[in-house]
């Protein structure tokens, strides 16, 4: 009698343990499923934001006439100054913004773009050093301003190596001042084989044509660079020997400020971010 009773009790306990373990596995699985769903939603949201940023990069590549690149520890940005692409570029950016608005194919993505600064000064920020490259007289104007925010005790890069190409005949490259926080170098090439070259050692360079007219002026002050073109030039600004870039490989060029808002209320996702264009 007692033997049977213990057998029953033993089986009952064994089965209770089995069911308990199965419930634990099932509960764990349900939690995994919820986690998987959350990861999928977040991953999907990031995919949308990243692709919108890539879209901006494509429009810049196709319509802004600006070339941005990274080579080792150097970052370069080149464009014409003044940049004649401003009209087409602004139209393309506005079309892109409308794509996400009501009536556009992308309206159900929950994306809103703020393109006001992009269509005006088109500011780029070089990460990780937060160097700001902007068109201070609006994109299409004749001035580029670079706010490098350098610390004299710890400059973020070696200096600026400028390459200028012009259809004018270069008469001279005159210099003044002396190197401050970062250096300024320039190579110029014009028509009829004309050229000039300035090594580091000054903080101000003026290029003139063979008639003595100023083509462009380059001034470095406290590490910041201002480029003013009086005539059309193609200018390539190379930020040389940037700290950490070659080592950690995390160089990014983004728009300054948040330009993308993603709002998906069903999943309680609201994200404001800039666009990574490189």
């Amino acid at each position: 009698m007692k033997k049977g009773y213990f057998y029953t009790l033993g089986f009952f306990l064994l089965v209770s343990v089995l069911i308990g373990l199965a419930f634990l596995i099932s509960k764990n699985s349900l939690e995994s499923k919820e986690l998987f769903s959350e990861i999928s939603v977040i991953h999907g949201a990031n995919e949308i934001v990243d692709s919108v940023g890539e879209g901006f990069g494509r429009i810049i590549e196709l319509k802004a006439g600006i070339n941005i690149g990274v080579s080792g520890a150097d970052v370069f940005i080149s464009e014409d100054l003044p940049n004649d692409n401003d009209g087409d570029f602004v139209v393309a950016i506005n079309d892109y913004e409308n794509f996400f608005k009501s009536g556009g194919k992308g309206e159900d993505l929950g994306v809103t773009l703020d393109v006001s600064t992009i269509t005006s000064t088109l500011p780029f920020k070089i990460i990780p050093h937060n160097i700001l490259y902007t068109h201070s007289n609006n994109f299409g104007g004749n001035v580029i301003s670079i706010d490098a925010s350098t610390d004299s005790n710890d400059p973020k890069f070696g200096g600026y190596a400028i390459t200028v190409t012009t259809t004018s005949i270069i008469g001279s490259c005159s210099t003044s001042g002396s190197t401050s926080v970062v250096y300024l170098k320039l190579e110029g090439s014009g028509s009829s084989g004309s050229s000039c070259s300035v090594g580091s050692g000054s903080n101000q360079i003026t290029i003139k044509d063979n008639a003595g007219n100023t083509l462009a002026q380059f001034i470095v002050s406290n590490g910041d660079l201002t480029i003013t073109a009086q005539n059309k030039i193609t200018v390539r600004v190379l930020f040389e020997n940037m700290d950490d870039l070659a080592a950690n490989g995390k160089t990014e060029v983004v728009f300054d400020g948040n330009v993308i808002t993603l709002d998906i209320p069903d999943f309680n996702i609201k994200q404001e971010t800039t666009a990574n264009i490189l």
């Binding site: 029953t8 064994l14 089965v15 209770s16 999928s40 991953h43 995919e47 949308i48 990243d50 890539e54």
Partner: protein, 139 residues
């Protein structure tokens, strides 16, 4: 009374044996039911979550590579299909739909079961702004 007791003892041998057998039958029933419930729960838990997580990553990776390779320039369905087939892992299937302002193209033959989905904004070289929607699932 004594006769009845004797009858039981003669017919079944011993009442101890009857109760012992019933105990085992009940215990076995409980055990089998328990195993069935546990097995069901465990099998349900193993419902290939990892396959779908992998499908999700495969889909987004393929969409990213297609965009980086500028496969959408020209919006050529055959070219897009070839590139997807060359990137898609064995054991998975992928369908897609490209929605632009003027063009909508698709290659969809979705199964009647759970699939992973994702979407990506694409800009073509002709400045067509489009959405690439995709679905991936394990075969």
């Amino acid at each position: 009374m004594e006769e009845k007791k004797l009858f039981w003892s003669l017919y079944y041998g011993s009442r101890k044996g009857v109760i012992f057998t019933l105990d085992i039958v009940i215990a076995m029933m409980i055990l089998i039911m328990g195993l069935a419930v546990s097995g069901g729960l465990v099998l349900k838990s193993l419902d290939n979550d990892l396959d779908f997580l992998q499908a999700s990553l495969i889909g987004s990776d393929i969409a990213f590579v297609l965009e980086e390779k500028k496969v959408f320039d020209g919006l050529d369905k055959g070219f897009i299909n070839n590139n997807i087939n060359s990137l898609l892992l064995d054991g998975f299937e992928m369908d897609y739909r490209v929605e632009c302002d003027t063009i909508v193209m698709q290659d969809t033959n979705l199964p009647n079961r759970f699939v992973v989905t994702g979407e990506r904004v694409i800009v073509t070289n002709d400045l067509d702004y489009c959405i690439f929607r995709y679905w991936v699932w394990p075969k």
